[in-house]
Amino acid sequence: MAARIGLFALVVLIGIAAPFLGLYPVLLMKLLCFALFACAFNLLIGFVGLLSFGHAMFFGSAAYAAGYAMRSWGFSPELGILLGVAVAALLGLVAGSLAIRRQGIYFAMITMALAQMVYFIALQAPFTGGEDGLQGIPRGNLFGVISLQSDLTLYYVVLAMVVAAWLFIARIVHSPFGQILKAIRENEPRAISLGYDTDRFKLIAFVLSAALAGLAGSLKALVLGFATLSDVYWATSGSVILMSLIGGIGTLTGPVIGAFVITGLENVLADRVGSWVTVVLGVIFVVSVLLFRQGLVGSLKRFWPSASRKPATAA
């Protein structure tokens, strides 16, 4: 346990020092947003066993809601983010209660279809800016006093929020509630026979995951100053799956690493190879599914078992 806390402290320290290591703060913030997005997605697939193929709807709708509130209603950043999270959670409640009516592969198809519906709504609605998206979202002043104009200030705000959200996810996973989620993942009929209302637990997990994805989306809108159709597009839902997959589904750190790898890769490749980025992502997808289903962190744990938590000896 002490080693894990030490490792966590080290990672946070690196995070605090990162802007002084020559890394561009805006890129770092983008990485953090996608890391949180991937962790939120992984909460469902990794700990409840539900594959959502439409998580971009929460990410994107929160980005639009937060962006619109901050730009057109003059909301301060914290209120804008709160609204984004609320919108995503509400959408999660609606989408979740529909999707959990079916299992497995149908769940994935339903979430994908609902996300496509949200995409079309975003395309047509008067307040999203259509093809152009919402541009020029102001950063404003946090709590009305702290100006977020400086990239460095904003970076620390984002870092603090993402670290807090990650700790929240870790807390959920290790709580009794998280244990029930894992029981549902392993054997849903058994969880039902033990008297758990599994649909309710699945729905709560879905809403939590949606809300956290919404936090990631709101932060992204704040950081980059825009929300566009690509935030709600199926390709974004696909890339968050890829992030979790190559990082390690069902691990707490995997999605963070996966998000850094994929977002970094997209960043590096975008100007060099143009439309081949899609091909590269596709190949990574295929290779990970065929050979590498454990992901980076998952494989590491397998070859270096001491890195994973030892099973409790007393039952």
Binding site: L98, L114, Q124, T278, V279, G282
Partner: protein, 293 residues
């Protein structure tokens, strides 16, 4: 004559257009159902194969000089062959795993195909010149029916119901259903199950390719046309349930019609109506219209 304030001629022509779309939905969801039935895989790349069919027809005409009628036969075969390669090369290794991995793998395949086509043809649309034989219209009295649209609907109906007949009413279909029900027992009776499974996958993909060739002369050909339609087809599949061949066909055609009607009476919702219906079906009949709970 008007129906709810819309002239009958306009209504009928939108309904025909809806049926054209419904034909594509029907062929694609039929292919998905056949593949899911035998391989237990939801093929996300189905949309990409449809797109390949359309670009195949375009390529055949512009580069190889093969006309529409040749393309109608050759392109689906070629697309089916690519499908078989994907199955033998990649999907084969996922047999027995959770079907979610199949969905993810075919999602990757679809990204690869889309990226390659986008590099070759750009994101903007191409159009395929309609073959002269399909120009012209039939005057049915109450409406004017373009022959090209009647052709798409006709071909798709014939292909869909032939497929249904082969699977549900012939010996080959019986083998196939047996292989779905109990692969090892069917194998023990001397049926080459792996070959049957691969050929079925190839057939399902070829259906998508055929739909693509038919679509080539009906809509703009773009690299993204596949992923755009496949998500709507997923909604169709959720509504109909993948257990029934006939269900897939009827749901596809029906939703095309409903989409056409929506385009007349409330055009803003025409892109979303399929998803709204999916949500309603999930609330009222969670197993889907033709599904078994």
């Amino acid at each position: 004559m008007e129906i709810f304030g819309v002239p009958l001629v306009a209504l009928a022509s939108q309904l025909v257009l809806g049926l054209v779309n419904g034909s594509f939905y029907a062929m694609l969801s039929l292919g998905l159902a056949v593949i899911f039935g035998t391989l237990n895989i939801v093929n996300f790349a189905h949309g990409a194969f449809y797109m390949l069919g359309a670009f195949g027809a375009f390529f055949a005409l512009s580069t190889l000089g093969l006309n529409y009628w040749v393309a109608l036969i050759v392109v689906p075969l070629a697309v089916g062959l690519i499908g078989i390669l994907v199955d033998r090369g990649l999907l084969q290794w996922l047999r027995g795993l959770d079907p979610l991995y199949g969905l993810l793998l075919t999602f990757g395949v679809s990204l690869i195909l889309e990226g390659i086509l986008r590099d070759a043809y750009g994101s903007s649309g191409r159009s395929y010149p309609r073959p002269p034989a399909l120009n012209g219209v039939w005057n049915l009295g109450f409406m004017v029916l373009p022959i090209s649209r009647a052709w798409v609907i006709g071909v798709s109906l014939v292909v869909c119901f032939t497929t249904w007949f082969v699977i549900e009413r012939t010996k080959l279909g019986a083998y196939l259903r047996a292989a779905t029900e109990n692969p090892s027992l069917t194998q023990a009776f001397g049926v080459n199950v792996p070959l049957l499974v691969t050929l079925t996958f190839g057939f399902g993909v070829a259906l998508a390719g055929l739909a693509g060739v038919l679509a080539a002369s009906a809509v703009q050909i773009t690299p993204l046309m596949g992923s755009n339609i496949i998500i709507a087809v997923f909604a169709v599949v959720v509504i109909g349930g993948m257990g029934s061949i006939l269900g897939a066909i009827l749901t596809g055609l029906g939703l095309g019609l409903i989409e056409g009607l929506t385009r007349v009476y409330y055009p803003e919702a025409s892109a979303t109506v399929v998803f709204v219906i999916m949500a309603i079906v999930l609330l009222v009949r969670p197993a889907g219209l033709f599904g078994r709970a």
